[in-house]
Symmetry: C2
Subunit: 324 residues, 2 copies
């Protein structure tokens, strides 16, 4: 009945801009839920986006990503950088427990106003994870986080999502991954700007690092950047400075370009908006404009194949819509 239920977002942006962590958490919740009320708020914070360094941390379960993230947070805090951590968990419902458990532990341990930790478990619509990850990073960026670390387990679509949300991607591996190494290599080459062989004290670490080096040499070059392979032990705190330095070198490489950090980010932002629009256009045309009913009727009655029906509907929209 009161103002709160009438305009629930009243006062949220001013509080957010004052640095109120609960306001930030509320915006993240709205982004995660795909709440339409988030959109105008997002547009309002949009001019403040772009100052943070964004690093994605991915790799197989058990590689030690969470521990590495904790170490990087400590390092950034010693340098008085404000840090945002986003643990994106695309693995539901079967493997959702472990990663989130870790993050909750960490956020309890480090009661530090300079660190904002958030777990996101996204389910539901296709493309939802990518949109969420981009927008959640944007919220943390506008909130004033200078270093944003996005952690996600490397399964399914998560690789592509983490690439679209961050500037630099660190792939974390560990010895003893066995037969999976071959399968990994293909994907690593495509997304890793930096490869970390964690748990370097375990047998097989040197061998894994050499294998990865070899795979990088064989892979098609991705521009002028050559992904370095670093040995580390996040558990023992070894190799962390080197990883942070390599992330910085990659960032400098991006800034120098071509195309330059700003241009690279702009094209990722366009891709993000394109996804949002594609989804919205499809729903609008099928639902509001009645093409879904046409689809159901044609499928039920015509005896034609599904692709023939889809092609006809596509043609009809194509003919009706003027070009820009």
């Amino acid at each position: 009945m009161g103002r709160r239920s009438l305009r629930p977002a009243d006062g949220l942006i001013p509080a957010f801009l004052r640095g109120d962590a609960r306001a930030c958490g509320r915006l993240l919740t709205m982004a995660e839920a795909g709440d339409p009320a988030f959109r105008p708020l997002y547009d309002r914070i949009f001019p403040r986006i772009g100052r943070a360094s964004r690093t994605g941390i991915t790799g197989p379960p058990g590689a030690g990503k969470s521990t590495l993230v904790d170490r990087l947070v400590d390092l950034h805090r010693r340098r008085s950088r404000r840090v945002g951590v986003l643990a994106v968990d695309p693995t539901s419902p079967f493997t959702g427990g472990a990663l989130l458990g870790d993050r909750i532990r960490m956020s309890t341990a480090s009661r530090d106003a300079g660190v904002f930790v958030r777990s996101m478990a996204t389910r539901g619509s296709l493309g939802g994870l990518a949109r969420c990850a981009v927008e959640a990073c944007d919220v943390l960026d506008a909130f004033g986080c200078e270093e944003i670390l996005v952690e996600t387990v490397g399964v399914g679509q998560a690789e592509a999502d983490i690439v679209s949300a961050t500037d630099t991607v660190v792939v974390v591996l560990h010895p003893g991954t066995g037969d999976a190494v071959q399968a990994m290599k293909a994907g690593m080459m495509e997304i890793g700007d930096l490869l970390v062989v964690n748990k370097a004290d375990l047998p097989g670490a040197e061998r894994l690092a050499a294998d990865v080096e070899g795979a990088i040499e064989l892979a098609a070059p991705r521009g002028a950047w050559r992904a370095p392979v670093l040995l580390a032990s996040a558990e023992r705190g070894e190799g962390i400075e080197e990883i942070a330095a390599a992330i910085e070198r990659h960032r400098e490489f991006l800034v120098e370009g071509p195309p330059g950090l700003e241009a690279a980010r702009r094209s990722k932002r366009e891709a993000h908006l394109r996804r949002v629009l594609e989804e919205a256009l499809g729903s609008m045309i099928l639902d509001e404009k009645g093409y879904a009913k046409l689809l159901a009727r044609s499928l039920g009655s015509s005896g034609r194949g599904p692709y023939a029906v889809a092609t006809e509907i596509l043609e009809r929209v194509r003919r009706s819509l003027p070009s820009q």
Copy 2:
């Protein structure tokens, strides 16, 4: 230069209809790749689709899904049913090795003309996995497989995909999953028509089964079907007949309806085609009709937020397109 390169699909459908396994494999490859040349071929086999029983087998890594699938294949073969197995692996690049390894082993072991085994590792476009799974099942169905088993590890979007491609979903669990049980329960209730606690000889199996039973009682009912919980040991071949019988009971339940098996399948087929159309509509409007350029221009120059730009583009299409 010759006929093959000019019209590569020549003769493929006749060979497929004669029961040529290589032609079937070729169609599956085209479906997996999202090859546009697949679409008219799919429409040609479309009238032959709908005779197979389709069962999805999902669950966490290590639950014994592959072994259970092997046992179900043996059982169906003893009953002289033609079987198609589709191992869909959405977990790339990091965990892709194990599942595929198993399937390759099985397909070598069982050189049996009545069993068609296919592994699919899909990466790339969002929604690609769902489309692939549906169309690959359709190909196997049209090829004359009477029982189709779709195996996939339960991560990310895979649950929803396996639901859209099959009639009955079996969720396989194993004792010792620990903290993940809570996380699992939510998802299981939503997708499992049948819950199997595998490795029933291990400690904790009875307890897990009781936990799952309890969770089912607490969950919101999904129509009149109550998912049974079965103990099994796929390794020892125990409980397999009971699982097959429960799958059959679920199928009879679907046939009796409401809404009836055919209606349920039709609505899944519409959802599938809707996904195909949404994607196609979005690309057509953004690329062919020039709205992507408009998007890039507006983002670069206006100082407005992304959602304001997206909303304006959506509005413009809405105004220009007549309703059906």
